[in-house]
Amino acid sequence: MSGGFTAGGVAHAPSRTVRTVILGLVGLIFAVPIVAMIEFTLRAGLVGGYNVDRWVALFQSGFTGVYRPVLVALGNSVALAIGTVVIVLLLLVPTMLLVHIRFPRLRRGLEFICILPITIPAIVLVVGLAPVYAIVARLLGSGVWTLAFAYGITVLPFAYRAIQSNLDGVDVKTLTEAARTLGAGWGSILVRVLVPNLRRGILAGAFIAVAVVLGEFTIASLLNRVNLQTALVVVSKVDPYTAVILSLLALAFAFLLLLVIGRLGAPRTRTSRRRTTVKGPA
């Protein structure tokens, strides 16, 4: 029904085999480059054969020396990811809720604005952003974190879609009105009704924001800021093998990060345990 909270329940879901095949194919497409990267890092020079020398060397050096900038860059990227998620949470989510509940006529406009960045190549975006950042640098300094503003724009299309699809599945208007008649102010409605029911969409939006920011290269490079990807490119020019190892580690790190965010945002297990305990007549 209107709840959109129940799991599953798709009327014409593909059969088990079809699902397995699709999942397997998609998994394969993702696995090939990763396996290839691992294979590359294990190659023992031009004579052939494999060893783990490069991995050992990297870890024994303790990421000091030449690789130190990569760690710093990773820190930058994580900070940027956090900043971008904050922008999504504090700017995009409330705006979307406001438009959805109070100004539904603005929805088309908001959707257009939010989808727009996907149609603009990063290079073009930077051309426009460069003079803006000249002003930003004067007002706020030229710290790396200011890139979060630009990233807030580039993740808009993805975060918007993720949140909007959740919003469409929940009867936000009725739930809000029910809460209001029960005496809830807008703060309570946001915290006690909207966020719990839109958790999945908001989380997905945050996920995508993190993933996009950790993989971003063009804007940072052209605006002369250091992030993970620009640092990796610098390393790869000196030592392509180690650059690939670092890329793999970054990938694993991003994966872990997303896992942690997912954990933090997961619904309380209490409710799912409780719902099976009571059995009364239907």
Binding site: D171, L175, E177, R180, T181, L182, G183, R192, P196, V278
Partner: protein
């Protein structure tokens, strides 16, 4: 007020006499379109009023304006004599049950019911006790921990009712709460709503487009048409003395027959009938006659039986007059006319409502 589990813990609330609600000349415009057009209605203390009307007549808008979910364009709404136009929804102290299922999907039934109490900063122990009592009132004591998706439609609306009533609101608002339910559950829950309302003595406004529902539960029924109230009265008044053919047609089934009004009597097929409104001017009219106000007779108006259907406690027969007019009759089940049979009809002489034919052609009615 009777001693109820709900009211006991709150002496101030149970001492509260029923609430009076008054709409005066309320206008609500949606981008130039008037959903309410000078709407007047008074709900007396503890009264159950049904707002009945076809879809789009402004029933929901009237309810939402009272709840504060929509602003008014003009006019005033008072609760116990106090104008509420500047009061936000959350401060109006109304319980509302919506047409669509409106339980918070992330909360259990009990937590849903507790929501309003939580907003009023009631302590957890009392909150839980009152929520349980309220769920018991709607017959769902053992469903405290169920989630909305584990409840049937009827159960969800019961929980919504418990949630609306647990805070002991001044007015209960119901917007077609039964329309999504199947027929049997609908009748059950309808009667239960009436029982609970009578026990609590809470002033209630019940919106519906189903005349059976309105007539069955309400103290008074207000029939709406195009943003206005066409007639207010007890179910009996509306049924037996409809002010206009629109009401006659909307409340119960009516035959519409061409006739003339002459010296305060309506003439149809040579029979003179009394008028509900004796001031009706002379002229050609369309007369509304209830199917139970036409009888079979040994002589009179000749007709051919088209069909006859058994409706449980009564039988409804369709006949065709010589001039082709189709009429419905309602009569006892022991009379069983056969299709094709020739019968004679007479009018019982109950007062009828009429509509001037000029007005009819100016605003053509849908058949």
């Amino acid at each position: 007020m009777t001693a109820l589990p709900l009211n006991n813990p709150q002496p101030t609330a149970s001492a509260r006499p029923g609430t009076v609600v008054e709409f005066t000349g309320v206008v609500k415009e949606f981008s130039g379109m008037r959903a309410l057009d000078g709407f007047n209605l008074t709900l007396h203390a503890g009264e159950f009023v049904a707002l009945l009307g076809p879809s789009g007549s402004g029933k929901t808008t009237a309810l939402r304006v009272l709840a504060g979910l929509e602003s008014t364009t003009a006019g005033s709404i008072t609760i116990d004599g106090v104008d509420v136009s500047t009061l936000s929804t959350s401060k109006r102290d109304m319980g509302m049950v919506f047409q669509s299922y409106s339980l918070f999907p992330h909360l259990s039934a009990g937590e849903n019911v507790e929501f309003g109490l939580r907003m009023r900063k009631i302590k957890p122990a009392e909150r839980r006790r009152r929520a349980a009592a309220s769920l018991a009132m709607v017959g769902l004591d053992d469903h405290f921990d169920r989630f909305a998706h584990q409840l049937s439609g009827g159960q969800q609306q019961r929980v919504a009712l418990a949630r609306a009533l647990v805070t002991e609101p001044r007015v209960l608002l119901l917007d077609e709460p039964l329309s999504a339910l199947d027929a049997k559950v609908r009748v059950q829950l309808r009667d239960e709503i009436r029982r609970i309302q009578t026990e609590l003595g809470i002033t209630t406004l019940f919106v519906t487009h189903d005349q059976d529902e309105a007539l069955a539960v309400a103290d008074r029924v207000a029939v709406m048409r195009a943003g206005n109230i066409e007639q207010v009265g007890t179910p009996e008044e509306l049924y037996s003395r409809p002010a206009t053919p629109f009401i006659a047609d909307f409340v119960g089934l009516s035959n519409r027959i061409d006739g003339v009004v002459r010296s305060a009597r309506a003439e149809v097929y040579g029979t003179k009938l009394p008028l509900i409104d004796p001031a009706t001017p002379d002229g050609a009219v369309r007369v509304s006659i209830r199917p139970e106000d036409i009888e079979f007779a040994l002589e009179g108006l000749a007709a051919t039986v088209v069909a006859s259907s058994f409706l449980g406690s009564l039988r409804r027969t369709t006949v065709r007059l010589v001039d082709g007019t189709i009429l419905f009759l309602q009569h006892g089940v022991r009379v069983r006319p056969a299709a094709g049979e020739t019968v004679f009809l007479k009018f019982t002489g109950a007062p009828v409502s009429t509509e001037q034919l000029a007005a009819v052609s100016a605003a053509p009615q849908q058949p």
